[in-house]
Structure formats: C-alpha cells, structure tokens
C-alpha cells in the first residue's frame, strides 16, 4: 500500500460559489511508485473531463498503455480491452481519415477492492467514427476513475458511453474538443447509486469548429445514502458559428437520504449558436407508477421497469451479452428492496 493522495478532479470549467462544493471533487487515491508512462506527443495535450491531476496520476501509475491506430479507411470493428480490471491503464486511439473503431472496457464485480483508474484519449481524423464504452460493476470496496478526452476533426463522430454502476466511489469524466467542421460528439452516461456510493461526473465540450454538434445525456437512479454530483458543460468558443449543443440529465430519487447535486453549464461567446440544457430531478411520476401497478406490477417491479427503461439504451450498446446479463441481474438484485 502506498501513501494516499487527494487529487482535485472533475474541475468545473468556471468557478461558482465555493460553499456548493461543486468547483472540483477531491478524489483519494493510493499512490505507488512507478515509472512515468511514455505518451506520444500528439496525445499529451488532449484535455480530459477529470482534469490534469488525474491524467498525471494515471500516467505515473499505468501498468498498461495501449495505442490503437486505425489507418485511412480502416474498420477495426470492436476492440475489447484485454486487460480490463487492472489497476491503471491508458488507451490511446488515433483514428485516421474515414476509419472506424470501437473500444470497449468493462470492470466486473470480480474486482471487489482497491482502485481502478482508466484513461482513454482519442484523436479522430476527418470523417472517422470512434466509439468508446467504459463500463463497470465493481464491488463496494473499489474506487473507480474513468476519464476520457478527444479531439474531433472535420465531420468526425466521437461517441462516449459510460456505465457507472458499482464501486464505493466512482469518478468519471469526458471532454471533447470539437475542432473540425461539423465535428460531432455524443455522450451517454448511466449511473446507479445505492448504499453509500459516491458518484462524481464532469463532462465538457469545447466547440471551436463551425457547425459542430454535441449531445450529452445522463440517466441516473439514487437509492440509500448515495451522494452524486453531475457537472455538464458546453463551451461555445468565439468562431464556432452554427454550432449546436443539447444536454439533459434525468435523475430518479428513491431515498430520503440520497443527495443529488447537478450543475449544467453553458458558456458562450459566439452569437450564432444554439445551446440548450435541461435537468429533471425527483421522484417517479405518480401516474406512471399507478398505471404500472394497475397492470399488476408490484411497486418494486414498477420502479425497476422505470429505471431499466431509462438505462437500457445504454446497456444495449455493451457489445457483450454476458456483461449485459450481469448488469441486469445486478440492478434487479439491488432494486429488490422488499
């Protein structure tokens, strides 16, 4: 066991009242002596959602660094993370012109303790299509950090899917620099907070290219004493004319002792943009519960249905049937509160 470091992660792109404790999160990580990973220079300055301190930590601790390069027009299909579940890893993806690649990593509940820190950086060339799926259902003794950063080129499409369903605490973030003309970024997150799980998220999109588009969607459910923070920021930078961003967060609250904090930001110094965000936080719609129960479902079943119907679009993206089944079984077990 190494010494414990408290890192400032998930920084808000602009500061607000300190008493809200939303400007950044403190993440306690065990430090171990390790040599600094060798990162190719083109990946070095890519901004991530969790921020510099986390990136620097992972670069000093990664026992596995993998570089995936897709050449012009190449379709690499789905690449699974062969080291999924190890303590610290870095995946660097360079997708050339017109290439396609999907990277998928899942840490299962076979990991019960310790910490997992995963960093994925992406450079998407013109018209490249890159999807990154980070998923975890680790046990309640494990601390998770899932970070992502991408630079998106002309007409390229980058998609990030994060499924954060386990761990004693899960920190996750993503950042996309939309530099190219018509660069597109889609981000989908699901999270499940129960017992005394802590969840902390930060997503940032930096629009600099013209006609860039963003869609950020988070769906979550909070039970028990869960404590969750969600930051979602769209930054429209001068010159990104005709860019468009949509961001939405839906949170279902099931416990009087759970806490939810959300701060969806729009930063804008370009006139010709269209940005919208929406958040909906609260209990399940009474009419929906009544309807489902009138159809013969128990209260628990109705709740499960409501949560899973929101989670399924993301779970269905996981390219491994056994993992999908593991997730459904885990959610069912944890929501079966009777």
């Amino acid at each position: 066991m190494g010494e414990q470091n408290i890192l400032k992660v998930n920084p808000l792109p602009t500061l607000t009242w300190n008493h809200l404790m939303l400007n950044f999160a403190n993440m306690p990580l065990e430090a171990a002596s390790s040599k600094k990973a060798d990162i190719p220079s083109e990946f070095k300055d890519i901004e991530t959602g969790m921020g510099r301190e986390f990136v620097s930590f992972v670069e000093s601790h990664a026992s596995y660094v993998r570089i995936i390069r897709a050449g012009k027009g190449e379709d690499l299909g789905v690449i699974k993370d062969e080291k999924a579940g190890i303590a610290s890893e870095i995946i660097l993806i360079e997708a050339g012109e017109d290439s396609r690649v999907t990277f998928y990593t899942h840490a299962s509940d076979s990991v019960q303790d310790g910490q997992i820190t995963r960093l994925v950086k992406v450079i998407a060339g013109p018209r490249a299509q890159v999807t990154v799926i980070q998923s975890q259902t680790v046990g309640n003794g494990c601390l998770v950090g899932d970070d992502f950063g991408a630079v998106v080129g002309d007409e390229a499409k980058v998609r990030l899917i994060q499924s954060e369903l386990g761990g004693k605490a899960a920190f996750a973030g993503g950042c996309a620099a939309l530099k190219g003309y018509k660069a597109d970024f889609t981000e989908e997150t699901i999270y499940f907070g129960d017992e005394s799980r802590r969840l902390d998220f930060s997503y940032v999109t930096r629009h600099t290219g013209k006609k860039t588009t963003t869609s950020i969607l988070a769906n979550g459910a909070l039970f028990g004493n869960a404590d969750k923070v969600y930051r979602g920021s769209m930054d429209f930078i001068h010159g990104c004319s005709k860019s468009k961003g949509r961001e939405a967060e839906n949170v279902l609250l099931f416990s009087p002792t759970a806490r939810n904090r959300s701060i969806p930001l729009i930063l804008c110094d370009e006139e010709d943009v269209d940005g919208q965000h929406a958040a909906s936080i609260g209990k399940i719609n009474k009419d929906l519960m009544y309807y489902l129960q009138s159809r013969g479902l128990t209260e628990n079943q109705a709740r499960q249905l409501a949560v899973e119907s929101r989670f399924n679009p993301v779970i269905d993206e996981i390219p491994d049937e056994a993992v999908r089944e593991e997730i459904h079984a885990s959610l069912e077990r944890r929501m079966n509160l009777d």
Binding site: N23, R259, N260, R261, D269, D274, Q276, I281
Partner: protein
C-alpha cells in the same frame, strides 16, 4: 442583407448622466480603518450595540477573502473608496425643503412625479443619507411604518430592528456583507402590520452623486401575517472615471400568509461595482415575489435569495439583465426550500451586446425536510453579437426524494426563421429585430405596475436604429 444587422442600442443612460458638485458636510478619509468606522458610528449617533456590531463586521471584513469566482474585482481599491458621504442636509418631509441640487437630481429622475401619481410613499437617498421620506396619510393611518433606518434604530421599533438587523444576511456571509455591516448608512425600514393590504406600492430611490464613493444602504422590511406590500427600489448614479461601490443589504421578512413583491430597477452608471445582497425569509403560506431588472453598473454580483422556511410557502423570481459595452453583470437567484410543500419558480432573461458579459448564476437547494417541494428554473439568453458573452451556471442540490426540480436553459441569437416570418408579414428587418428584443424583455415589463412603466420605459429604452417600432 443578412450581414448588415441594424444596430440595437443599449440602455439609454444619458438622462441619468448628470451630476452636481458635492458639498458634503462630512466626509471620511478614503480607505477603511477601525477609526473611520468609529467616526461613522459617532457621526450617526449609533446605539452602543450598533457601534460594536460595526467594529466586529470590520474585523470579519478584513479576514474575509474577495470571491475567487465571478467577474474581476481588480478595479476596486477599497483604500480609495470613501465609505460615507453625508449630504449637507437633514432629512425633510416636504419636497420643497430639500436643497436645490439634490431636489433637481430627483426631479430629473421623476421621483416626486411618480409619488404624486402612483405611490403610497417615497424615500430618496442621496449618497449615504436619506434626504426625503414621505408616506401618504391613508397608508400611515393603517399603521404602516416607512422611515429611514437611522430613525428606525432609535424609534418605537428599535428592539425589532435590533433583533432583525443583519440576522438574515450576517456579516460572515461574504466580504461585502461584512463591509456593509461595518459602514452601512441610510436605507429604509418598512413595517406592515398584520392583515394590512397596502394597495399602492412604496418606493425608494437611491442616487449616488459623489465620485469614488460607496453606498451602503440597509433595507429592512417586515410584512406581518396576512399583510401585503409592493416595494419598488430604483438606483442610479452619474458617470465618473473612478470606481464607485454599492454594497447594500436588503432583508425581507414575510410572515404567515403574507405576500411581498419586491421590484428593483437598477441602472447604476458604468463605473459602479454593484455588490448587493438581498435575502427574504418566508413563513407558512407566505409568498415572495421578486422582479429584478439589471441594466447599469460596470460589475454586478446580484443573487436575491429566498428561504422558504414555512410550509406551503412560495417564491417567484422574474429577472432581466442587459449587459452592454464594458459591463459584466453576474446575476441570478438563490432559493432554499426548508418547509413542506414549498414551491419556487425562477424565470430570467439576459441580453448581451457590444462586448457585454451576462452571467446567470443560481442555486436551488431542497432541504431534507422539504417534502413535496417543487422548483422550476427557466433561463433564456440572447446574444446580439459575437463580441459579447453569456454564461449560464445553475446549481441544484436536492436532499430528499419526494421533490421535483426542473431546469431549462436556452442560449442563442434571434432566429432567422422568426425574422423571416415577421418580414413576410410586412415588417422591415429592423422592425422585426426590434419587436423580437422587446418581446424577449416583455415578461419582466409586464410584472411592473403600469404607473411605474413610465420610469421603467426611460430606463430600458432600447433604441433601434432605423426602426419605427
């Protein structure tokens, strides 16, 4: 055609940009020391508790850091701010007795006019002191008290003032609340007895005339159970080249089943640092309504806060912010739900042009016991050019499951489709744009009483070049 956009002018400041030489009877040295605070306290003939309160606040002020968030405050040098300037007059009850230069100022602003026409009472503050206070007889006969804070400190409500003064906004709240506690001067005290419905609004007007001065008025309003009051405040100052500071404090107590509407039209000059704190405490079934228009000042930090303490209490906030050249207006609202079945609704509009910066900043807190709480926030930002900036920073903190919190924000420019539609109906492009901007500001304008709209119109006069609208 699309490239040649008609110029939409900012708020016309010219009618407020006049000033008189200051002939103050007493001025403190620039900068802030315990001696200056003692001097202010002595000059104002404070009760002992207030003198101690001021000195304690100064200690807090000196220990507290300036905010690390929000627009830059670098241009504000407290060593150069004259905290207290008292005009060379004592308070008058008759308009004709107010000295000419001060009277002229307020006449140009339309204060006596507004009073004659539509207001139940008027208070006018010039620099640090209230120079004029009057309440219509019929309102006074209902038991309504409307006086300046200094009189209230020594009058029949002295104990009530002592109990409530800076109770909602303690000096520990932030650096400029502490500053206010140390050097506050002037402002209004309003007491509306239980069950009294004040039919016509009370108005208070603040005018900062001296260069490089600070204005720190304190407003304390107590609306007893079942009563109703509409209070309007307006603020202005002429242009000077040195920074002026406004760090006022407003504390509002809304009793059971009472309703208070607090409207502000702020048009400080473009060198003003407006660091104002407003807070309301609402008891069972009480209603707090805010209408807030921010047009002036160089830098603003303004977030009226409502604490929905009582069950079934409600808050409504309607705000508009217009930031033009050299302005950074950081405005918004805060609400804390503590009572059961409380509800709040925040609706704001912001317009940025000519390099102006608008920031909408808010917090909605749903406490553990606020079962059945509902809150909705809606903020729209309009960008009129690409030199300007508009940020939206809303925070929500929900601590119980039986609540509903919704938030929506939109940012963008005037849509080409809307312009096209209006032009297809026969409007010129200029008129179409002017109509859309006016329509955008309409939700705030319509919340103000019709009589007050005359002055409001002066304040938010949007000049559209080439527009006949």
């Amino acid at each position: 055609m699309a490239e040649e956009r008609p110029e939409i002018q900012g708020v016309n400041q010219s009618i407020y940009d006049f000033r008189y030489e200051t002939h103050a009877s007493f001025e403190t040295d620039a900068g802030l020391t315990p001696e200056i605070v003692e001097q202010i306290s002595k000059e104002k003939n404070d009760p002992d508790w207030m003198r101690e309160f001021r000195l304690k606040s100064l200690e807090i002020y000196q220990k507290t850091a300036v905010p690390n968030w929000g627009p830059p405050l670098d241009g504000l040098n407290m060593d150069q701010i004259i905290t207290y300037v008292r005009p060379n007059t004592t308070m008058r009850g008759k308009w004709s007795e107010v000295p000419d230069d001060i009277k002229n100022t307020f006449e140009r602003l339309g204060i006596p006019d507004a009073e004659q026409k539509s207001l139940a009472g008027v208070g006018a503050q010039y620099d640090s002191e209230v120079v004029y206070h009057n309440v219509k007889d019929e309102v006074a006969r209902q038991g309504v008290v409307y006086t300046d804070m200094e009189s209230a400190l020594r009058g029949p409500y002295a104990d009530l003032v002592k109990e409530k003064f800076m109770h909602l906004v303690p000096p520990t709240d932030h650096k400029f609340a502490a500053l206010h506690g140390a050097v506050w001067s002037g402002g209004s005290f309003v007491y509306v007895p239980a069950g009294v419905h004040v039919d016509i609004p009370l108005q208070s007007y603040f005018r900062l005339n001296a260069a490089g001065a600070g204005q720190f008025e304190h407003t304390l309003i107590i609306v007893e159970p079942g009563a109703y009051l509409h209070f309007i405040e307006g603020c202005s100052a002429p242009k000077y080249n040195v920074a002026n500071l406004h760090a006022g404090c407003v504390e509002l107590y809304v009793g059971k089943g009472a309703r208070l509407r607090y409207s502000t039209i702020e048009n400080w000059s473009k060198n003003m640092y407006n660091l104002n704190t407003k807070r309301a405490l609402v008891e069972d079934d009480g209603i707090m309504e805010w209408v807030s228009g921010s047009f002036g000042s160089h830098i603003s930090y303004l977030y009226p806060m409502t604490i929905l303490q009582g069950n079934d209490s409600h808050m409504d906030f309607t705000g508009i912010t217009f930031a033009g050249k050299t302005q950074a207006l950081d405005t918004g609202a805060k609400v804390v739900h503590n009572g059961r079945n409380t509800s709040s609704h925040i609706s704001t509009k912001s317009i940025s042009k000519d390099g102006g910066v608008c920031v909408y900043r808010s917090e909605v807190i749903i406490g553990k016991d606020a079962v059945g709480a509902k809150s909705s926030v809606n903020c729209d930002s309009l960008m009129l050019d690409s030199k300007s900036r508009s940020d939206t920073i809303p925070a929500m903190d929900v601590r119980n499951a039986d609540s509903d919190v919704g938030h929506e924000a939109k940012i963008g420019r005037i849509s080409d489709e809307a312009i096209f539609y209006l032009m297809s109906r026969g409007l010129s492009e200029e008129d179409a744009r002017a109509m859309i901007v006016s329509g955008f500001a309409e939700p705030v304008a319509k919340e103000l009483p019709l009589e007050y709209a005359v002055e409001m119109n002066n304040l938010i006069k949007l000049e559209m070049d080439g527009s006949t609208f």
